[in-house]
Symmetry: C2
Subunit: 475 residues, 2 copies
């Protein structure tokens, strides 16, 4: 299975069309961007760049692929030969993986011969849409958990193998601490773990015996699942008994129990009380059962004494808003070595593209908090020596001036003339960077309901070009 | 990448636990079933069995996997050696792929040594949850489209590679006609197709030239995308001009246009009128833009003259309800060659399992309509010679008697002693079977809002065993 074949058929008909009409080498600029934050939130967390680099580094079509495409009787011999020798030759600019991103800014910009840019489209969108969706969701869940441990355990409800494998990777970048999915540990090094299911307990004549057998095999990794028969009257007493009979005599210092059904606030409080009465104040409580950021927030508001959250289907599918809608739009071409901006008009105002080869600047206060982003022409130079005034691109009287500020250019160059020029950070580095980025957001942007709408404005030069093009086309 | 490693860590700790405690060969029965139909619908459409067979046929752990697991320092040498030589040796019973299924009936039953049954769990659930979710969604969308063509085009918004690849497969089983995703055609033979994006049109000096160039290259496969600049004042006139200047002179008889934004009812009606006025009554109209079964139903109620629906993110992620929640529960073990039923109790009544080795019977009227399903002990024999009375397992006074009826046993044996004994149908056969199954449902079960709750009852013998076990544990 060749990932290059994860491609919408129309990319190939267009590519063959460019080839046949002698346009294939025309340089085009495409922006990858999104329009709306997931879950009505205030930001998104960018993930997937490493997967994209893996893809582009290896991108080629083999004989089998060419034979298959030939059988469609839509593509010319010349084009198929071109495809057989395909190698990406363009430039790619991108936000660093783990960056906080906002609607309408170019997260990734591709400058390449049109035929190549088109061939990248589908897979780039798929990877970034998926991983950004899950990383963002994970960051929200971890935020709700207020520093408590969160474990991703959704493999069984994920939308296929890649959804579980790369979903756990993205969730880790977003802040979760571990996964139940072994392959995500093997492939990416996301820490994996897990203990027992109900079936383990059912296999024994009694819950007590099931716990005891497990404790003897895994004295340092026992988390007793309490709700197979009855959490409070059976699960908790048996767990306490086994901790005292098996674990404490072995010198084990850390114990844990898990509740997987019922009212988690009530049961965690009652369990805590029973554990404390038994002198097991250091026994942690894990809960699971269709959790997400809103349920976790509620549990903690109600004072549920929970130490660890196991989060499954609602994280791995981003259930409450399972589509991250990045698009990939032509914003310019080159003619006679000049950049010619391109626009797509729409009756839906938010679907009008912002033309031209652009870059993104992040404006921060002196402590490094993110205050606003500014999109400019790539050729514009900004510096922090003088005050900076930005304005809302729709309601232009809404202005804001920064006097003391820092400025970071968000785009890194990842590929230059088809060569990767960007050093791949480790997953741990990406995760640390993401957590720093999240900490640089104002709490007003992170809150779940009616968050502050972060400013993403256009430079005056860019704004003028865009509005002139709209007028020329529709005026 | 070895699919065997798509496994929750706890499956392996339990498996090692069974190995270490001498229980590994105890025969266990697990049921895979679900509790709630997606989208509040009346049924689900079972998909994924072929993918499961591919998995089990090849299931093994290689040296690299074993090395990785060894590094976790949780598993014994003996267990790792066992895993290195793992081969499935059990029996699997399953509904045929493409079957209509209902909550709480065992869709798949695994009889195997406990250690093996546990190792299958995660991947089985992942595959069946994903593909059944998408097949069911596709069947709803195709139903709303009332016989019109539906094309799956969600690859860019799918939750990863497998979500797009196997999602298109499942959607095809559910009834969609084609996909945009080339790899699903290459791997599974789902028909693929596609024409042009906005970027194609933007690459030319005018929309007219873009359409003309495309028509010359693909005279028999041109679908003109109308909404790059303005659908009615620009897109439609340019499409008509190119059809008349290029396609008709070439003798082409079939033309098509696509609308991808704006009010699809209004624009399709206005487009139809302009096309008809130009004498192009045989030009079909395709629409796309975040469609699902409810939007399609509304468009058709409003009389939108649409021939083809392109459906993206809301199908490939099952956006309105993106989790299919199958579970995998221990229902029996064997002791001294006797089947000993097992139960899991819960305060949530719907989470109490139905114990024992079971089978499922479908009761149909003389025309083959599905009237009810009956779950019995596997050992029970039913025949249609005498009237059959079934009763609701909760409100047992709710009874229904069938006099003239047909009976089909839904389980096929797929694996016997680890050998696959089931002939794999082709994808086309699975799709045809699924469409027959859908046609055997009463419309009352297929409607979207408040569908009839299809009866899934327990045989008297099974009901008695279950209730006795609950009483014994909680009474």
């Amino acid at each position: 299975m060749n990932k290059a074949m994860v491609i919408d058929f129309y990319e190939l008909t267009m590519a063959n069309g460019y080839f046949e009409s002698g346009m294939k080498d025309q340089i085009a600029y495409f922006d990858l961007y999104y329009r709306k934050n997931p879950d009505g939130g205030g930001y998104a967390l960018f993930a997937g760049l490493e997967t994209i680099m893996d893809f582009i580094d290896d991108l080629s079509f083999d004989d089998e692929d060419i034979e298959f495409l030939k059988s469609k009787k839509m593509f010319s011999e010349g084009f198929l030969k071109y495809l057989r020798n395909f190698k990406f030759s363009g430039d790619i600019y991108s936000f660093k993986e783990g960056s906080i991103i906002f609607p309408n800014e170019p997260i990734v910009t591709i400058k390449a011969p049109i035929i190549e840019a088109q061939i990248l489209e589908t897979y780039l969108l798929q990877v970034i849409n998926h991983q950004t969706l899950i990383a963002t969701k994970a960051s929200r869940i971890k935020y709700a958990a207020k520093g408590r441990t969160v474990i991703e355990m959704g493999a069984r409800r994920a939308q296929g193998l890649t959804a579980s494998l790369n979903g756990a990777r993205a969730a880790y970048i977003g802040g979760i601490d571990a996964t139940s999915n072994v392959i995500s540990d093997q492939v990416y090094g996301v820490p994996s773990g897990g203990t027992m299911a109900h079936s383990w307990i059912q296999m024994f004549d009694s819950e007590y015996e099931a716990f005891k057998t497990y404790a003897n095999i895994y004295p340092n990794h026992s988390t007793f699942l309490l709700d197979t028969y009855d959490t409070l009257s059976s699960g908790v007493p048996n767990a306490i008994r086994v901790i005292k009979e098996v674990l404490i005599p072995k010198g084990v210092k850390k114990y844990s129990v898990r509740i997987d059904s019922g009212d988690l606030t009530y049961l965690s409080k009652a369990t805590r009380k029973l554990l404390d009465q038994a002198g097991l104040e250091n026994c942690t409580i894990t809960v699971s059962n269709s959790l997400d950021e809103r349920i976790i927030k509620d549990l903690l508001i109600q004072g549920a004494p929970i130490d660890i959250f196991g989060v499954g289907e609602r994280l791995i599918t981003a259930k409450s808003d399972p589509v991250f809608g990045s698009v990939y739009k032509l914003v310019a071409i080159e003619e006679n070595n000049e950049i010619v901006p391109k626009i797509k008009i729409s009756d839906n105002v938010e679907k009008i593209t912002t033309p031209h080869f652009k870059t993104v600047w992040r404006i921060m206060d002196e402590e490094g908090h993110f205050d606003a982003d500014l999109i400019s022409l790539d050729s514009e130079k900004l510096n922090t020596k003088k005050p900076l005034t930005i304005f809302d691109p729709i309601n232009i009287w809404k202005q804001k001036t920064f006097d003391n500020y820092q400025l970071i250019q968000m785009h890194e160059i990842i590929y230059e003339n088809g060569q990767r020029v960007y050093e791949r950070p480790s997953l741990k580095e990406i995760r640390d960077f993401a957590q720093n980025q999240l900490n640089s957001l104002w709490p007003e942007v992170r809150r779940f309901d009616f968050p502050h709408q972060y400013y993403v404005d256009l430079s005056k030069a860019l704004w003028k070009i865009k509005n002139k093009m709209i007028e020329d086309l529709r005026g």
